[in-house]
Assembly symmetry: C2
Homo-oligomer: 365 residues x 2
């Protein structure tokens, strides 16, 4: 039944191995963000390739991956703890190594009060450039101090260079990130808190973060210029049309596609049954359409509604009604969150398909 | 646990009653599109208010609503039938009155071959203006003829005026629709097929379709100027920020919101835990942001990521960390498709919340 999401497993393996090897060579720990795949099978491959643990965005994801046996989790999100949320954190911390994010003295004070003695740790979120959440790097020490004074251990700092999601922004975003993390790490030390973990890294900035980094110079929180000890890329496992168009993923490495059926040739255009309820409605300002077609690199998805993708083929012959065409979603994390199952194409040739449950689908709170 | 979707049940009742009354007064049948709510409880309210049946977009939705006891379904989509899909249609037709869409002679011929004697009927999709799928109105008769010649009964024609989703386009889209349906109905008659159903109507064009229509003049397929016998609005049950900004829904009638928690005041802005995985990533060209806040009509969601909505409050005081703020999604159909449950606020005051399962969530194929 189309539309469905297909994972090219050989490409998935290659993507996981390549980034693991590069991180190892640079002496940086990898803690991949599991929001991209929400899938126990992919998590196991990442951990088997040397990841120190997983990153998640919500307590629901943390619970799903703890259920799947993952024993080291970072909730890289500035949680505001209600009593019910604090109870969920305590239960999680009783069965897995756990750190949660926080970006203000108020939230740190409250979390310390509710979580003292639970085994959970805090990591301070700092912002440099993305302007979403996170304290300023210079204020990170005060947030850490509030947690420690309240009895909650602080493991370190993290940031998310989301502004690397723009054409040409890779190197500058990575440099901003390294600088912000360096300032934040010093701020913690000045407040008397030694940061064990200094964590950064989106998939686009990964290239910038790992490039020009002489082997062995990273991984030491002493190097003020680049204090990063850990990276948290998510999208690299699959890639998507955003990464393709940003130039941060080779189209030949993209490991997840949406398989769609040609349902109409109305108006002389290709109409597929994959719409925003299968691909997601994401369209960044720099995107050229609502997804890309590997078999037709010059084609563009010019109209997307809930169950229709209308494609202009740029001169190619229309594939027949009923034939199948693959679409790379713009933003793979949101496409995966729409599916109950990923169909794992074990050899990449369609011969053997295994269903992989999206165990954390919808676990967004 | 935030974020979650809250339905204001008194407003929902009022929206369903208002549109049912107006359709009844105009003599037009209502077949609401269930893709918006995917929820058996809402379907039952629509049917109790006089809807003749439901519209769905996929066989998966049809199966979910047949399971919920709905006995008259239109799949308003140009299905291309594989053998497996044809078997699903036959099973559905054995337990419910069923019509499926089709927009080409090739698809009609194939469907007739696979579905002959199943009890399923065909409805021809025509396009006028949206340029998504659908045959031209003048060719509708040929498509209908192919189905009838193959032994598949044809019930009529339908169109979707999706280009009404633009500012100021309401009246012209409704007029385009009426004209296209009139031409299509004549085309069927010229081909010797009497259209029992002539179906149109999106939520934005509803106002145009029902306005200026003297009671009793519609509902007769004889009136070539306005042959419409049936309307299929979806979004009207809940409304959303798109309808609010198009001016087709009064903000005071909006019956679905996403309840979010204030997690950060980073940068002096409001940061909520409702992102694109709860609200959907939809942002039409005319939209002023990624959703609207009923409590802060001048505020705008200026940044949306998977778990963050960053809001500029336009001068209002920041609500405290940990407080709750409601967000109206831009496109409610995609927000609902992300949720397993809608929380029905029975009195609209938060006192009694019932979980309504989104039974057709993810049933998009």
């Amino acid at each position: 039944v189309t539309p469905y999401l297909r994972v090219d497993v050989p490409r998935l393996h290659a993507n996981i191995a390549r980034v693991a090897d590069r991180a190892a060579a640079a002496g940086v720990a990898l803690r991949p963000h599991a929001k991209t795949h929400k899938c126990a099978e992919v998590a196991r491959l990442q951990l088997a390739a040397g990841a120190v643990g997983l990153t998640v965005a919500t307590l629901g994801e943390a619970e799903a991956f703890a259920d799947a046996g993952v024993d080291d989790l970072l909730v890289a999100y500035p949680l505001w703890l209600t009593d019910a949320a604090a109870e969920r954190v305590r239960r999680l911390a009783s069965r897995t190594r756990l750190a949660i994010g926080c970006d203000s003295v108020a939230a740190a004070t409250r979390a310390a009060e509710l979580l003292r003695g639970s085994g959970a740790a805090h990591v301070v979120e700092v912002d440099r450039g993305h302007h979403r959440s996170g304290t300023t790097p210079a204020d990170a020490g005060a947030v850490a101090r509030a947690a420690v004074d309240g009895g909650l251990p602080v493991r370190g700092v993290f940031t998310f260079p989301g502004h690397s999601y723009a054409p040409g922004a890779l190197r500058s975003a990575a440099a901003d990130e390294a600088e912000a993390l360096g300032v934040a790490a010093r701020s913690l030390r000045d407040a008397g808190v030694e940061p064990e973990v200094v964590s950064g890294g989106s998939t686009p900035s990964l290239a910038g973060s790992l490039a020009d980094r002489p082997a062995g110079t990273a991984g030491t929180a002493d190097a003020a210029e680049d204090a990063t000890t850990e990276l948290r890329p998510g999208v690299y496992v699959f890639g998507d049309a955003q990464q393709w168009e940003l130039g941060t993923t080779d189209p030949g490495d993209i490991a997840l596609t949406c398989v769609a059926t040609v349902v109409s040739h109305a108006g002389g255009r290709l109409v597929l049954d994959a719409g925003s309820k299968a691909l997601g409605a994401d369209r960044a300002g720099y995107a050229t359409g609502w997804g890309r077609l590997p078999a037709y690199p010059d084609a563009r998805v010019v109209l997307l509604s809930e169950h229709h993708a209308v494609v202009e083929l740029a001169g190619a012959a229309l594939p027949p009604l009923g034939s199948r065409v693959e679409v790379v979603p713009n933003h793979v994390c949101n496409a995966v969150n729409l599916a109950d199952v990923l169909w794992a194409d074990l050899d990449g040739d369609g011969a053997r398909l295994d269903p992989w449950a999206v165990v954390a689908r919808g676990r967004n709170g």
